[in-house]
């Protein structure tokens, strides 16, 4: 085991873990950032979505070795004071129900808007269908993404 360096939400962090440890569990258990959730462990549900060098990835199947030297952004780093347009839109549409999948939903949506500031319904289908919500907030997620793209 050798120390691994990565940037998490703008801060340089060093962790000393087995290199096959998934990024998800390093974020949650070693760095104490529990906003990123565990759902399936197989990249099937999207609850663990974070940004790696700006791209939305599933941290449950990403070994920490693959994040060495890279920039990771988690839900805790999405904005200061819940000011990201998506967070404001999420409040305006009262999107969350149980809330467990919402960190992953927001990180997938943020990656979408960063690339495609004015997504169509088809763009949203494409970007968001890897994130499962069991409470059925899909309709409001779609509305909130459109709202955020229009400046909330």
């Amino acid at each position: 085991m050798a120390p691994i360096h990565l940037t998490v939400n703008g801060k340089l962090r060093t962790v000393d873990v087995a290199p096959d440890t998934p990024l998800l569990w390093v974020i949650r258990e070693h760095l104490g950032l529990t906003g990123t959730k565990f759902g399936c462990g197989m990249a099937l549900c999207g609850a663990c979505t974070v940004h790696l060098n700006g791209t939305a990835i599933r941290s449950c199947v990403t070994p920490i070795s693959a994040a060495a030297g890279k920039r990771v952004r988690t839900i805790e780093g999405l904005s200061r004071n819940q000011s990201h347009p998506l967070q404001r839109a999420w409040v305006a549409e009262d999107v969350p129900q149980c809330g467990y999948c919402q960190s992953g939903q927001l990180m997938s949506a943020a990656a979408l808007l960063a690339k495609t500031p004015h997504p169509t319904d088809a763009d949203i289908d494409e970007a968001m269908s890897g994130n499962i919500c069991r409470c059925g907030t899909y309709q409001r997620i779609r509305a909130a993404i459109h709202r955020a793209s229009k400046g909330v």
Binding site: P22, T34, G39, Q82, V95, Q97, C98, C135, G136, R142
Partner: protein, 721 residues
């Protein structure tokens, strides 16, 4: 409300110690069996309203937040009558010692708002009258000349006003009004209006703490290899390779808890071997290195095919009659046209987004449990039993729940965490993998339904018989009352349609599969089978499915109004958009009535695509229309996912599915546009967490029939050939 008529006014509300004005509230139990007979305190409060010296209003409840927004709705009831400024309203920490309360702590049965509608309003009204009295005394005027308005008391003639925060100290010294006046609905500021949920801000930045997020100093993490065969046991295991993994501290065998003891909520766990480590990943790696040999026990030959065959065999004989009207056999014999059909539905998995987990810390002087639980009373009892401490020394800390749907009414994950903490002498968090969660669930029972119906020469329905064969959820709780599991027949025995001759029977199939309460419980299958077969009756009678239902609801004006609203908003009777079919279904559950019209097409591979679902609902008084809409969307997604894809199957005594690859979930791209219309109603308050689920499967299947002529009698739907 009659449910607390046995309590005097004095017992219903009392001032309590605390800074500012604090009222202790007694909320009645949803069911008589939920009254704690052993409660020593004649006034055992289970909710509190506190107005702090800074004006903050905190509502503390004994209910869990698992997605349905119930705590927000409960706070609205208080805030309405208190005339509180919503911006000052907060939710308190869920209470931690269920043994001290006079009702069981269990969030389920869509009961939270139904049981609290009047008592919480009265608590708010009492506090409001105390604040008004305090202001009137200060000004030396009659209380009747003062009015509470959004966090202030105004002396109407002079226009003077004082904020609540300036009045709480005096108000706290005043007597609690015995019979406070409730606001007339016309003056409602919050009830019936769209009010923002109080928990949303915590759920958009990762700060909401779910069970999985609990951190306790010195905590270890456990992953458990459970016996894959239902009811099997550990024969022998070798922990050497697991213990050689870095971070692995302990390997602990856990015996099976069969869950057959009856009682309030008997826990049931599988036998297993737990690996306890510093982190989850280490525990999982250690678990993969375990070598376990199982004693597969008597269920190693159990299979879904065998269960299906058993159901068919049991359905040949009459069952226990749950309801009978007229002479159904004679009426069937005399019918001009007779139809019969068999329907079958599979076991279903809850699939909460947050896998099961719990954290426990057992000490010689007590036990703390942190759990995403719907059932704090059960969690506390099971923790006391397995920690070996008095129940009063167990504190249950309720986290947010990453979905409940009935799965978290079970206490298996608490029993595991407590046993492991006791065994290793440290706080332990048990985390289930998704595979653990899929394969060790408490499933919605599979069931088999044999129907017959008759219509006369004029096309009027004359007879209906329905025989249900299913394993009984309630068998675990003790002997069935009169041989009937009321959860098996709910939604069937109370069929609202006016068949003059009718019989509903139930036969219990004894199966070892763990069973539980799955969102909407018996109505989840009975709405599908009865509403599909009613459609078959319409075909046999040569009538439009909506018109036939309408005619059969002549004596049920509430049901009929809901059905008519859904049909009207969906454009029933006008041609469906090209390539689409429409289906309608109606179901009453948990005190609310919902009708849904689904608009469906088929994709080139035969996959069913649901485009639009129009919902009409009568849930009695409206608390928060925004929540009603959200729960209709939620119920539709939950029921539609199951109808299209859901099936837990068993082979060699093992659950065959393992993760979202073989137990698929509805995705955003498949989400229909759900529209919700609310019937104005002064009926008794109904629930909202579950009633949206039952009608969607039959609405979709009836739409498939309208589109293709193919009748779906077995779920999941799969692809249409």
């Amino acid at each position: 409300m009659s449910t607390h008529s046995d309590l005097s006014r004095r017992e219903f509300l009392q001032t309590a110690a605390g800074a500012g004005l604090v009222l202790a509230i007694h909320l009645p139990p949803p069911l008589r069996r939920d009254v704690r007979a052993d409660s020593a305190d004649p006034f055992a409060p289970n909710a509190w309203l506190a107005i702090a010296p800074d004006g903050t209003v905190t509502v503390t409840m004994d209910r869990s937040e698992m997605g349905q927004g119930a705590p927000t709705a409960l706070a609205m009831l208080v805030a309405e009558e208190l005339e509180a400024d919503w911006a000052t309203v907060r939710l308190g920490t869920t209470v931690e010692n269920p043994a001290a309360w006079s009702r069981r702590m269990l969030t389920g049965g869509s009961s939270s708002v139904r049981t609290s509608y009047e008592p919480l309003r009265k608590a708010g009204a009492a506090a409001r009258e105390m604040l008004v009295a305090a202001a009137a005394a200060q000004w030396g005027v009659e209380p009747a000349t003062c009015q509470a308005r959004q966090g202030t008391v105004v002396h109407t003639p002079s226009g003077r006003s004082l904020p609540y925060k300036a009045l709480v100290a005096t108000a706290a010294t005043l007597p609690v009004p015995a019979n406070p006046t409730l606001k007339p609905p016309a003056e409602f500021r919050y009830l019936g209006k769209r009010v923002k949920r109080l928990d949303t801000p915590l759920k958009i930045d990762g700060s909401a703490v779910f069970g999985l997020d609990v951190q306790v100093p010195g905590m270890l993490v456990a992953s458990i290899q459970r016996c894959p065969v239902i009811g099997g046991k550990v024969k022998r295991y070798d922990a050497a390779k697991a213990k050689a993994h870095p971070g692995v501290r302990h390997v602990v065998e856990l015996p099976e808890i069969p869950g057959t003891g009856g009682g309030f909520f008997p826990t049931r766990t599988a036998a297993g071997v737990a690996v306890v480590a510093d982190t989850y990943w280490q525990a999982l790696q250690g678990r993969r290195a375990l070598e376990v040999e199982w004693d597969e026990g008597p269920n190693a030959g159990l299979s879904s095919a065998g269960i299906s065959a058993l159901f068919a065999q049991l359905a040949v004989q009459p069952g226990v009659v749950a309801r009978k009207e007229g002479e159904p056999d004679a009426a069937l014999g005399a019918a001009a046209k007779k139809i019969a059909a068999v329907y079958e539905v599979p076991f279903l998995y809850h699939a909460t987004m947050e896998p099961m987990n719990a954290t426990a810390h057992v000490r010689s002087d007590g036990c703390d449990v942190w759990a995403p639980t719907q059932n704090q009373t059960g969690a506390q009892a099971v923790a006391a039993q397995y920690a070996g401490v008095p129940i009063e020394q167990v504190r249950v800390h309720t986290t947010f729940l990453g979905g409940g749907f009935g799965r978290r009414a079970e206490t298996d994950f608490v029993a595991e965490a407590v046993q492991l903490s006791k065994a290793v002498g440290a706080p332990v968090k048990v985390i289930w993998s998704r595979e653990d969660d899929v394969q060790h669930g408490f499933y919605r029972p599979a069931s088999y339904h044999a129907f017959a119906a008759g219509v006369d020469a004029a096309g009027a329905p004359t007879a209906w018989t329905h025989r249900i064969v299913a394993p009984a959820i309630l068998a675990r709780f003790g002997p069935l009352q009169d041989g009937i599991d009321r959860t098996t027949v709910e939604g069937a025995a109370n069929l609202p349609y006016g068949f003059p001759n009718l019989r509903v029977e139930q036969t219990v199939a004894d199966l070892p599969v763990p069973l539980g309460f799955w969102r909407s419980v018996g109505s989840s299958h009975n709405a599908f089978v009865t509403e599909s077969f009613v459609d078959e009756v319409a075909v046999a009678a040569g009538k439009d499915p909506f018109e036939l239902r309408r005619a059969l609801l002549a004596a049920q004006p509430r049901h009929r109004a809901v059905l008519e609203l859904a049909a009207q908003k969906a454009g029933w009777g006008t041609p469906a958009p090209a390539g689409r079919g429409r289906g309608i279904a109606l179901a009453e559950s948990f005190g609310s009535i919902v009708a849904e019209v689904a608009e469906v097409s088929l994709e080139s591979g035969g996959q069913v695509r649901v485009h639009r679902v129009v919902c009409a609902v009568d849930c009695g008084p409206i608390v928060n229309p925004d929540t009603i809409e959200a729960q209709m969307q939620s119920g539709v997604v939950y029921g539609l996912t199951a109808a299209l894809y859901g099936a837990i199957t068993i082979d060699k005594g093992r659950v065959q599915q393992s993760n979202f690859n073989d137990y698929p979930m509805l995705r955003l791209r498949e989400m229909p546009a759900v529209e919700t219309y609310i019937v104005p109603s002064d009926a008794k308050q109904g629930g909202m967490g579950e009633p949206g689920t039952p009608p969607i499967a039959p609405a979709v299947c009836n739409a498939i029939f309208a589109l293709t002529g193919k009748r779906i009698r077995k779920l999941p739907i799969g692809t249409i050939a």
